[in-house]
């Protein structure tokens, strides 16, 4: 029973209508405002890859913004992604369904701007805001001299220690960790940490100090050893700087050899796995499996929330030699407008709020990150207890080089770090390979405009 051609044509039209109907879903340019927004406002979509407890605070900021804005209604959506993975964003932007505001790790702003994912914020008047922000944070938001982001927070790294574990192991004299005496030496920390190590049935259940855990990154130890990661004059990355090589040798290669490469691996896989990471409340330091750990100021909020009875102390990141200047590095995030944003104007209005005084004040209080606004750093009420120690470090903190290959550089350094810790390569070879891989890619952007 064959259909007559006329019906075939009808079927064709019907089929195309069906395809068209399927492909135009989601266009909601005149969406009504959400609950909590004022009437007559226009929706601006905000994407963040953060997770709780940070997103709890971000939601509070969004709610406060929506309450006071008569033009914009922000809808916040948590999306998959991370510091260097923005696959969700890039595919959405290319598909025309991207957000109006995205929260992006600041050290990748130049890289994403170079790739063409971000809008230049000059037309919105962002260039006039440079004086409000910490200098290093503002520089990270630039690409070829133009602003592509507003910095919304920063942080700093220190050495945390568990007083109960140290004292139980017989380390009762903690005066060497007093910050007024400057940074402790790595030898001092090693001596204390070794007493804390504990094995049950041949496996570590407590490790005094595992230098790479948490924030003990390549950058952390490279800076502590006075290394330089980028040479602006030659436009080349320099992870093979002898000081960084030495840092890798001492802190990753030799340290894991002393604890036992396999034993340390087993400990890390059990209590601090990367595959994938445990929830915050099961963090190895918070649960008493680490004597010392390098981490940032946000851990203060974790301690309050998840381990209020843990007796901890804070000191500078240890240095190789007595009397060396203490070093730390500051990172942080920013808000950007991706290409093709449908409500860039509303998005920028929100960004000014989020990365402005009201937003940063809330975020600093609730998550114990530090603000990037100079005006807030002098407000001591925002930094109760130990948090003020971090603020004092900011003026001398290092920051990662803001390069158009920042994510690749991070990954290559991490690969070298893994090779050194597992003894699959000696640090000098591993770092040389990282330099070769990154410089090959960096050359297409040289010379870099400052």
């Amino acid at each position: 029973m064959a259909l007559v051609p006329g019906r075939g044509v009808q079927a064709l039209i019907l089929s195309f209508l069906l395809v068209a109907a399927c492909s135009t879903g989601g266009g909601t340019s005149s969406a009504p405002p959400l609950a909590g927004c004022n009437s007559g406002t226009k929706i601006a979509l905000f994407w963040t890859s953060h997770t709780p407890p940070d997103t709890d605070s971000e939601k509070n900021i969004v709610d406060a913004f929506n309450k006071q804005s008569n033009t914009t209604c922000v809808k916040m959506v948590a999306v998959p992604g991370s510091e260097t993975d923005i696959a969700k964003l890039t595919t959405a932007v290319r598909g025309g369904t991207g957000p109006d505001v995205y929260e992006l790790d600041r050290f990748t702003v130049a890289e994403r701007a170079a790739a063409g994912v971000l809008e230049d914020l000059t037309p919105y008047g962002a260039a006039n805001m440079s004086g409000n922000y910490l200098d290093f944070a503002w520089k990270e938001a630039l690409f070829k001299g133009k602003p592509y982001a507003l910095p919304d927070d920063t942080d700093a790294r220190v050495l945390y220690y568990n007083k109960d574990l140290l004292q139980a192991a017989g380390v009762t004299d903690l005066s060497a960790l007093d910050m007024s005496k400057g940074a402790p030496t790595i030898d001092t920390i090693r001596g204390m940490a070794n007493k804390v190590n504990k094995k049950v049935n041949g496996k570590y259940t407590v490790v005094g100090f595992a230098p790479r855990l948490n924030q003990g990154w390549h950058y952390t130890w490279g800076f502590a050893y006075g290394g330089s990661f980028f040479d602006a004059a030659s436009c080349k990355v320099t992870p093979d700087d002898p000081k960084i090589v030495q840092a890798f040798k001492d802190m990753f290669y030799d340290w894991s050899a002393a604890l036992g490469v396999n034993d340390l691996q087993t400990f890390e896989s059990t209590y601090a796995p990367d595959t994938p990471p445990l929830p915050t409340e099961q963090d190895a330091f918070l649960t008493g499996h680490l004597g010392f750990v390098i981490s940032g100021d946000w851990v203060l909020a974790w301690l309050q929330k998840y381990a209020p009875n843990l007796h901890y102390g804070i000191t500078y990141i240890p240095v190789p030699h007595q009397g060396d200047q203490p070093a730390t590095w500051a990172g942080g995030w920013s808000v950007v407008i991706p290409k093709g944003a449908k409500n860039g104007k509303g998005g920028f209005e929100f960004m000014k709020y989020f990365a402005g005084e009201p937003g940063q004040r809330t975020y600093a209080k609730e998550t114990t990150h530090m603000p990037t606004l100079k005006s807030l750093l002098t407000d001591s009420t925002l930094f109760p207890g130990d948090h003020k120690l971090f603020v004092a470090m900011l003026p001398v903190a290092h920051s990662r080089p803001a390069l158009p290959v920042g994510a690749l550089y991070w990954d290559q350094l991490t690969i070298a770090q893994s090779a050194a810790e597992h003894h699959s390569k000696d640090p000098a070879t591993a770092l040389k390979e990282a330099a070769t891989a990154v410089n090959a890619k960096l050359q297409q952007y040289c010379p870099l405009a400052t």
Partner: protein, 311 residues
């Protein structure tokens, strides 16, 4: 091989039928051209350019292909992928056949066993991977607990570069239910009189398996090897989930010592983390060529051992 029929002109009726049919399959044709054919050729073009995914693509000739030769990560990714495939495919075939034979037992509860063996195959790989992470934890995981109970040394499955790929091979076996069903169908297609005759001749079950069952299911084994190889060289999801997928959260970007940097994982990172669509497209085309060569090689090799009833 079936000879291709000679082309002849369509009759009036056939042409009318075609005209009627075309509109019905038009959505598929349009979809195929727009979402499959066009991207395939567009990626070929992109493989000769430098392109971030935004703005204009800059032609660079064979630069991306030349860069592959000097990129140590490319070779490591290729090596990891071959290692995994070479291990996963034979293990997969053996497990699937074993599973199929268990499903083929003449017992009353066979329906229950079939469902139980097949169940893990319908769970999403993403969820299975998370279950696996807990099972393989060296401190409190069930697998190491059992190993130690029987006096074997515990293994750091996901933290030791020597074991990570083996862990993923084991994980892949949870999905063996799919191929096992195909093997089950082929087992049931083996004529029972062959077994009866063999029994009369005095052959035991092992001899029957090697002399009757195995030769008669070789076409399905060949299918499973080719299918498994193609899936194997595209391995991505377990590695992505295991490593957290990203560099910022975990210290190891792609497993300890890059041991889980598989080809497609590196391709993904190149495209979406490093914004290098040109290099990623070139990698995709090289993978395509590798797949074709492997499949052709397996087909050629199979002539020596695959038994076709009609042949």
């Amino acid at each position: 091989m079936i000879a291709a029929p000679r082309l002849r002109r369509l009759t009036v009726d056939e042409r009318r039928s075609l005209r009627t049919a075309l509109p019905f399959i038009a959505p598929w044709i349009v979809g195929f051209i727009a979402f499959t054919l066009y991207p395939i050729f567009y990626s070929l073009y992109l493989s000769f350019t430098r392109y971030s995914g935004f703005g204009d693509a800059t032609p660079v000739g064979f630069e991306n292909y030349a860069h592959m030769a000097s990129d140590p990560l490319f070779w490591q990714a290729l090596g990891n992928t071959f290692y995994y495939t070479a291990l996963a495919v034979p293990v997969g075939v053996v497990v699937a056949i074993a599973l199929a034979m268990m499903m083929n037992q003449n017992v009353r509860e066979v329906a229950f066993y079939r469902a139980a063996f097949y169940l893990p195959s319908i769970l999403p790989l993403f969820a299975l991977t998370f279950i696996f992470i807990v099972l393989l934890n060296p401190g409190f995981g069930l697998v190491d607990y059992v190993l130690e109970l029987v006096g074997l040394p515990a293994v750091n499955w996901l933290g030791d570069a020597h074991w990570t790929k083996i862990s993923i091979v084991l994980l892949a076996q949870l999905g063996a239910g799919g191929p096992a069903l195909i093997f089950l169908a082929s087992l049931r297609a083996v004529p029972s009189e062959l077994y009866e005759a063999a029994k009369l001749e005095g052959a035991g079950p092992i001899r029957s398996f090697y002399k009757i069952t195995l030769p008669l299911i070789t076409p399905v084994i060949l299918f499973d090897i080719i299918y498994g190889t193609i899936l194997g060289i595209q391995i991505f999801t377990p590695a992505f989930v295991l490593t957290g997928g990203t560099s910022g959260g975990g210290a190891y970007t792609t497993g300890p010592e890059n041991s889980l940097l598989f080809y497609v994982f590196y391709l993904y990172k190149t495209a979406f983390q490093y914004s290098d669509m040109g290099f990623a497209s070139a990698m995709a085309w090289v993978l395509f060529v590798i797949s074709v060569v492997l499949a052709a090689g397996i087909m050629r090799w199979s002539k020596g051992w695959v038994h076709y009833e009609s042949g």
